[in-house]
Symmetry: C2
Subunit: 238 residues, 2 copies
DNA sequence: CTCGCATCGAGAGCACTGCTCTCGTTTCGA
DNA sequence: TCGAAACGAGAGCAGTGCTCTCGATGCGAG
């Protein structure tokens, strides 16, 4: 969270409840503004909508970037939730292909439904950079889902054997470290392919959300599905 | 260009020359500011750097968005140039794999050298969307290079035969229209793979430029090269 | 060669922004 | 219960995009 403005009032008090509600309302209204007109978030406009004077907001967020950071964290969590739920909803846990497709489509659906929130987390870093420490943990949640799928795919031997292309040693070690981080002890070539596919997925979503498909591809769900399936084959998921 | 502010003075005149120089200076300074601190471009700051009062800029650009649009067009052209030059620099025109790699690396190099300009054109649409008509033609230049490579690859029979995955008809037609647009009369499955690879490349660049590789992959040129090579194989370029 | 018009930069001004500081009021907890 | 902490209102500062007016300057048609 982001309320280093004042020392937080002790947990049980009425003030603590009101404060939490206030923070929630601020974030909700701010999210509405962002969804309406992009990252040009105006604190004063949020304050107006909330029926409060602008300086009051500074009791809850040290500055505009702090508010944005809070929204970014929430967005990551929301996206992570969506991915995890989509994965969990596949009954046959060993059907790793279905799980990959479910997660892939969940990522896209979440994104096209909230283009500006997507832009907030996967678009260009907005104001003065500085992705704060607090954002890195939530940002890993979606990729952890991929890790689970990979791990289960390996366990179920539903991962085709790699046709290895040589990888420079130093890079290979970094890739293996990524595999370890997301809890999938697969070989470097397979992990590399998974990372490539993951990158492709977000490239596809970015292209769609940022308007790169306009006047080109109208059957977007079909196109995305085709990409996701092709990349699943590419990884070797069966 | 973007100077609907006033009727442009007749071509030969001194005023026309001065005006063109002024526009250039404004864009140069604006570009410098963007490269220094992102898309939060301040017209007044540009005016100050130029030793001129802010209202004077409005003789040359109708508003801030117009200036940004001009910068976006220039960025597209610059990136297109880089891609075309990289392609042209490969002596053996039939070595389509080398050409693909050259273009891929040129795209990345251009982008990591100018992260904020890259964000301008491939990041989230900044203020109120509205990519103006003038931007669409320059934005196609990089992908036209891909088209040329594909066309030559087909002509030289250096494109592996596809292992076709069925594509929904409507989508297939759209993909074929893309192929036609970029001047590569290849089959839909091959074109689809090319588009997937292209999407992957920009996903990879975005991940790197927007900081998604921080604390994860440090050998970035190696990693990108591996991705580009893998995608070349994926397309079937040999 | 000249004279009216288009273009130019300066400057003031408007509405807006993020953010700070002060000042009474309310609420908490020791 | 009473001092300290937290709160919202309000004024104010520096900055922004953009508009309008006003003299000065260069242009091209006569």
């Amino acid at each position: 969270m982001a309320d280093k403005t004042t020392t937080p009032p002790a947990a049980g008090s009425i003030r603590a409840r009101v404060r939490a509600e206030m923070i929630d309302q601020i974030k909700t209204i701010a999210r509405r503004h962002i969804e309406a007109e992009g990252a040009n978030l105006s604190l004063r406009a949020v304050a107006r909508d909330l029926g409060v004077v602008s300086s009051a907001l500074y009791r809850y967020f040290a500055n505009r970037d702090d508010l944005l950071t809070a929204l970014i964290i929430d967005a990551y969590d929301s996206l992570g939730d969506a991915a995890e739920r989509a994965d969990a909803a596949v009954p046959d846990r060993s059907d790793v292909l279905a799980r990959w497709l479910a997660v892939a489509h969940a990522l896209r659906t979440w994104s096209v439904d909230r283009p500006h929130e997507y832009a907030l987390i996967y678009g260009s870093p907005v104001p003065g950079y500085a992705a704060p420490r607090d954002t890195v943990e939530p940002s890993t949640r979606p990729v952890m889902v991929l890790g689970a799928i990979l791990a289960d795919a390996k366990a179920a031997r539903r991962l085709s054997n790699e046709n290895a292309t040589p990888i420079p040693t130093a890079l290979r070690l970094e890739i293996l470290r990524v595999a370890e981080t997301i809890g999938a002890k697969v070989t470097a070539p397979i992990m590399a392919r998974a990372m490539i596919a993951w990158t492709q997925l977000f490239g596809a979503i970015s292209f769609e959300v940022f308007g790169r498909l306009n006047n080109t591809i109208d059957h977007r769900t079909d196109w995305y599905d085709y990409q996701a399936r092709t990349m699943a084959t590419f990884i070797g998921l069966t």
